[in-house]
């Protein structure tokens, strides 16, 4: 029995390994066939590859790495800061040339930065920050996303009306900062009132349920909804449409995912705020390569958020 189990497990592991090799074979072959000068290796630890934005970030990095002729090895931390620190420890043990970190958490991912820097390996943080300062940072200010969205709402409503805010997963950096940006605008716009705020955990189905409950609770008094990401904005939008209330309510999201862009184009969603995955991913790899080649580099590269409405949606649709 135990022998059979052992054989079964071994077979499964070998099969998985073979599958991994066949899909990652291209990159490996390049590294071996590189000849004289060794190809620089950059290891990446990403927040979560089941998130559409992070998938886009990953693609942008791959494209840039191919263009610059460096080898990129990508690991998925699956939202766990713990796993992320472990991954970076193994990068350090392999003595890679540089690390790109897409941090899971501000505090809990900080040891990853410390350990890499202590081993003399440069770290580029991308998309969000850690408490420990990395070699370089590439990203956007999430406060700006909240600010841009609520400023647009204030403009649409003439500075007067009732706003509902849907939060992301409470306590995550993006949720805290997007809220800060939104509240900052609200404090400067006294006639724009925050009617209610509630978390819908970045989730479309949860946001839809929450919006249905809000419609029951506040009905005609709702003038606008700011959802801290597009998934939730789409959920809110569908609930409003089904209750035939969308015509009276301005809905704005953040991230510019494909669904949201299509909804903006069709005049269903009022606006979204574009976070530039391509810009961030590309700049992160560029910065890492400059550091490896000892060229001058920017310590902080800020890629601005951009408001997307029906007027300019064309340039964002792929």
């Amino acid at each position: 029995m135990t022998v059979r189990t052992g054989v079964l497990i071994a077979t499964a592991v070998i099969a998985a390994f073979a599958a991994g090799c066949s899909s990652g074979g291209g990159a490996g072959a390049v590294a071996v066939g590189g000849g004289g000068a060794r190809q620089p290796v950059i290891e990446v630890s990403l927040l979560n590859l089941s998130n559409e934005f992070i998938v886009m970030l990953n693609q942008a990095m791959d494209d840039k790495a191919r263009q610059l002729g460096v080898r990129l090895i990508v690991n998925d931390a699956q939202r766990s800061a713990d796993r992320q620190v472990e991954q970076v420890e193994s990068f350090v043990a392999q003595k890679v040339d540089a690390i790109i970190l897409n941090p899971c958490e501000v505090e809990a991912s900080a040891p990853a930065v410390d350990k890499a820097l202590a081993a003399g390996i440069p770290v580029v943080n991308v998309n969000s920050e850690t408490k420990s300062a990395p070699t370089a940072f590439v990203g956007s200010r999430d406060e700006d996303a909240g600010r841009i969205a609520v400023e647009y709402i204030a403009k649409r409503l003439g500075g007067r009306g009732n706003l509902l805010m849907m939060h992301g997963y409470m306590g995550q950096a993006a949720e805290i900062k997007r809220s800060q940006g939104a509240l900052e605008v609200l404090s400067k716009t006294p006639d724009l009132k925050l009617l209610a705020q509630q978390a819908a955990d970045w989730d479309r189905a949860k946001a839809m349920g929450l919006m249905e409950n809000w419609i029951q609770s506040y009905g005609d008094r709702i003038n606008a909804v700011f959802a801290q990401n597009d998934e939730m904005a789409m959920g809110a939008l569908m609930a409003l449409e089904q209750a035939n209330r969308k015509a009276h309510v301005v809905v704005v999201g953040v991230d510019a995912i494909a669904d949201a862009l299509a909804a903006v184009r069709d005049g269903r969603l009022d606006a979204t705020v574009f976070q530039d995955a391509k810009g961030q991913g590309g700049a992160a790899v560029e910065t890492a390569v400059k550091i490896i080649r000892r060229e001058p580099y920017e310590k902080q590269t800020l890629i601005p958020f951009q408001l997307v409405t029906k007027d300019n949606v064309g340039q964002y649709l792929r």
Binding site: S50, E52, M170, G209
Partner: protein
């Protein structure tokens, strides 16, 4: 010994808790007890309700199914991929979603019965594997652009009643009749009550468990289809934690985690209690932090109240 006390109807404590909660909410918020809002609550519980009815089968046999949330995502993605406008008739994505769920459920059941592996471990493995399948089948991105005929399953209504509610009540009613009146249904109770006794009296235990997990998986597939239709996309990361909401509804409804005791009627009440609570806390605009605490306390409190009634017997 005095004559035995007349036993409480099984779900009286729970029904009482539900009525009390609804009365309190109605007093606090006049817009709670409107037809519009009550329909709203029913629509919101229908997905958790379908899952809860499914997992009732498994819990009755003394097992557990932790893979439901991932199955919802996987089957939703599968359905969505076949639900683009002008490609297939709407029956295709619906059936494929249910079949995908049933297949995963059958795998769970097969390993539980043939491999004698604890259901907790088997379905934990399926939870991880099905999430991976959902991501593979969708490439990590939501599958959107679904036909109107398909999304109508989640957003449309029939004679004024939202379709998800009709599906949920249909599933609950059929399951109730099945468990009460058919021999296969009663065998589920026998297996959960005392597996050895059931086997000795000629019940095919393995086959009964297979049936429970497969039905549970099929209903998870149905829930996945309804969810994808409701949110008009197949989301590979949807449904995280849904299995626990479903199990909570079943247990609140009086089905024992040890198997053999309970039924679908209680499960429906349990799902209602959770749904009313979610809706009420939003209407009262209770902060998200407190909501989680309140929900936890009420879930345990409801079960406690129910069990204390039973102890009198």
């Amino acid at each position: 010994m005095t004559a035995t006390k007349k036993p409480w109807p099984a779900q009286l404590g729970l029904a009482l808790a539900l009525v009390l909660l609804m009365a309190a909410l109605a007093a606090a918020r006049p817009n709670f007890l409107t037809l519009g809002n009550l329909v709203n609550v029913l629509r919101q519980i229908s997905i958790n309700g379908i899952l809860a009815v499914g997992v009732t089968y498994v819990l009755l046999t003394g097992g557990v199914d932790l893979s439901l949330g991932s199955l919802v995502a996987f089957t939703g993605v599968i359905a969505a991929r076949f639900a683009h406008p002008g490609e297939w008739v709407v029956l295709a994505p619906v059936c494929l979603g249910i079949l995908a769920g049933a297949a995963c459920g059958a795998v769970n059941g097969w390993i539980v019965t043939r491999g004698r592996v604890a259901p907790f471990i088997v379905t934990l493995g399926m939870m991880t594997a099905a999430r991976g399948l959902a991501l593979l089948a969708s490439g990590g991105r939501p599958v959107s652009n679904l036909s109107a005929a398909f999304t109508r399953i989640g957003g449309g209504d029939l004679a004024g009643v939202p379709i998800p509610i009709l599906i949920f009540f249909g599933v609950a009613l059929l399951s109730h009749l099945f468990l009460r009146n058919l021999r296969a249904g009663r065998h589920l109770y026998a297996v959960g009550g005392n597996e050895n006794a059931a086997r000795a009296s000629g019940v095919k235990v393995g086959r009964v468990k297979m049936m429970a997990y497969t039905l549970c998986g099929a209903l998870a597939g149905l829930a996945g289809v309804v969810l994808a239709a409701r949110i008009t996309t197949g989301q590979p990361n949807a449904g995280v934690g849904y299995e626990l909401d479903a199990i909570a509804a079943v247990v609140i409804g009086g089905t024992s985690l040890n198997g053999g005791v309970g039924g679908v009627g209680g499960t429906v009440l349990g799902a209602l209690l959770i749904g009313v609570l979610n809706n009420g806390l939003d209407l009262l605009n209770v902060s998200s932090y407190y909501q989680q605490v309140v929900k936890g306390v009420i879930i345990v409190g409801a079960v406690w109240l129910d069990r204390s009634q039973h102890r009198d017997r």
